[in-house]
Amino acid sequence: MTTDITKENPEAAAVPPSGAAPAENAKKVPQGHRRLLTRRDRITLGFMAGLPTILHIALVWVTALASIALAFTTWDGIGFDSIKWVGLQNFKELFEQNPQFWPAVQHNVIWFVVLIVIPTPLGLFLAVQLDKKIRFSRVYQTAFFLPVVLSMAVIGFVWQLIYNPDTGLINSIIGANEPGKYIDWIGDPDLNLWAILVAASWRHTGYMMILYLAGLKGVDPSLREASSLDGANEWQTFKNVIFPTLRPTNTVVLVVTIIEALRAFDLVFVFNKGAEGTELLSILVTNNIIGESSRIGYGSAIAVVLLLISLVVIIPYLVATFRKERRA
């Protein structure tokens, strides 16, 4: 008998779960959409998502995968017969023999370090100042942000007017614009990367300022009030209250800055076509296409290095972002 009762009890206990079933259904309500969709709707939806996806995957992802495949081949680009599998030879040559490769990697790293150490904190500092609801805030913002609106090519030309050895602003001011006294800001391999980075930082500061201003707008004003009630000074409030709440913005800023450093191209190309002292990975890839020698496999190997470095940034960022999305 007792066993019967216990046997009965679970069954009785099984009733509430069946009662909970509607709740489970309620959770799945959006799924019900699908049943409501007519055949035509489903075709429409397939078209709406399919067309853009095909275009995006064909031009972006298929080519990215093709880059990886081509990196293990040699190909002169004339006919498909000349494609030959060479294994890791391109990479070997790249790492061991190409005199431009390691400087390019180094310059990409320097590019990132400079952007994150100088214009990024400066942009944050300016954003904090402009966030104080001061007068003429709009005017200041426009001045700092203006370079971001310009194309990198235009920025390159504008800064050449400053760096030009004989007609440029700097040499004219310091009297180095005569033969024999020239300081060659664009040509000297010890100077040119830094000269270009000044121009890049000029632009990056405004970009960072805007991102941080948007982030600061999202900071709850009551936090600030509470901290001033606690007697914290401006620096303490910033360090202990404001900055920690800017975490999402900091993530974006970091990702944007790394990607900008990896993408850096236009400015250098306009300045001196990536000649000695300003080699970058992006320049090396491009030189294999628009230069005289078309070494497709070799160029792709450099692109793969660039891809791998970017994925180290892109993947963790996307994982974090999309995990948040799913929760939301």
């Binding site: 699908r34 409501l36 007519t38 709707d41 939806l45 709406m48 067309l51 853009p52 996806t53 275009l55 995006h56 031009l59 972006v60 298929v62 080519t63 990215a64 880059s67 081509l70 300016l126 100042q129 001061i134 003429f136 200041y140 001045a143 700092f144 203006l146 609106v149 310009l150 194309s151 990198m152 090519a153 235009v154 030309f157 050449q160 007017l161 400053i162 007609t167 602003l169 614009n177 121009a199 805007i210 999402p248 974006v252 990702v255 944007v256 990607i259 993408r263 190309f269 491009t286 294999n288 296409i289 660039l306 891809l307 970017s310 892109i314 960022y317 996307l318 972002t321 999309f322 999305e325």
Partner: protein, 296 residues
């Protein structure tokens, strides 16, 4: 209530000298930031003969717009502006159209692969362009389009540039728009669904009109990005005739290398459309930049 206002009032007064210092600092920084552009304008306004005689850092005798008119007429700039428009206008419209459809699909329905699809788009937009350029260049050379493009290929054609701009930028736009659409209440489309509205109607007449602010912000941002593009045009366009304005400028400087004043004028002319767009649509531009960024 009275305590916080009292403390605030107390803090306001001694802050004043600090405010003046802050304004001095910000104003001088702003001047430094405007400096390079101001210098370019100053150089462009002076005749080359004068600067070569007196030096660039000197007081001007004559200031005029000759360099601007010369740069505009001698280099056939209007032609390159038209080239840019032929690329940028369809590219912006198509990007918005296609990415809004993807965003609608991803954000308003619960299909299993939605998140993965959005991930593919978003990640694609983060790749450096050089990662895909070599195969893309080869692909463009392979695709024959006789009679459709001037070059008979996808390479060296406006169509080719439009396609890669759309493919690349739709990643960013799909991400931003899907976030935006997700914030719209589900009841809106559910009511329409019950009334028997087709999926297309829900998209075109309900969701899309509500996305107008986000679309406007993205349109502003995309116009400036695509107008400013240098890289795609540099690699995928070979004929000088077909180049958009930014890469054409690069070609032209060779011819005017001896006259930096003329180069300055040319570069500034190139920048004018973006500056106009920025000053007119400033709010949209900035909100577009931060729409994507705040979600991180």
């Amino acid at each position: 209530m009275s305590t916080p206002t009292a403390t605030l009032g107390k803090q306001r007064t001694p802050v004043r000298p600090g405010r003046i210092l802050l304004h001095l600092f910000l104003a001088s920084m702003a001047l430094v930031w405007i400096g390079p552009l101001a210098w370019a304008i100053y150089s462009a306004l002076r005749p080359y003969a004068e600067t070569s005689e007196k030096g660039y850092v000197s007081w001007p005798d004559t200031l005029n717009f000759d360099n601007f008119t010369n740069a505009f007429t001698q280099s056939d700039m209007s032609h390159y502006f038209v080239n840019t428009m032929i690329i940028a206008v369809p590219a912006v419209l198509l990007t918005l159209f296609l990415s809004s459809m993807v965003a609608f699909y991803v954000s308003r329905f619960d299909f299993r692969l939605n998140l993965a699809l959005l991930l593919v788009f978003t990640a694609g937009n983060l790749l450096p362009q050089q990662v895909i350029i070599t195969p893309l260049y080869r692909l463009y050379l392979l695709i024959d389009l006789p009679g459709i493009t001037m070059s008979g290929k996808l390479y060296d054609s406006a169509l080719g540039l439009v396609l890669i701009h759309v493919a690349f930028q739709s990643g960013f736009c799909a991400f931003v728009l899907s976030n935006y659409m997700r914030s719209l209440p589900h009841e809106l489309t559910e009511a329409a669904l019950v009334d028997g509205a087709s999926v297309w109607r829900q998209y075109w007449q309900i969701v899309l009109p509500l996305c107008r602010p986000a679309m406007a912000a993205l349109a502003t941002l995309l116009s400036i990005w695509i107008y400013n593009d240098f890289f795609w045009a540099l690699v995928l366009i070979s004929t000088g005739e077909n180049m958009p304005i930014t890469s054409a400028l690069n070609n032209l400087t060779g011819a005017y290398f001896t006259d930096p004043n003329l180069v300055a004028a040319g570069a500034l002319l190139t920048a004018i459309p973006t500056l106009i767009v920025y000053f007119v649509l400033q709010r949209q531009f900035v909100s577009g930049l931060t729409l994507g960024a705040n979600k991180g």
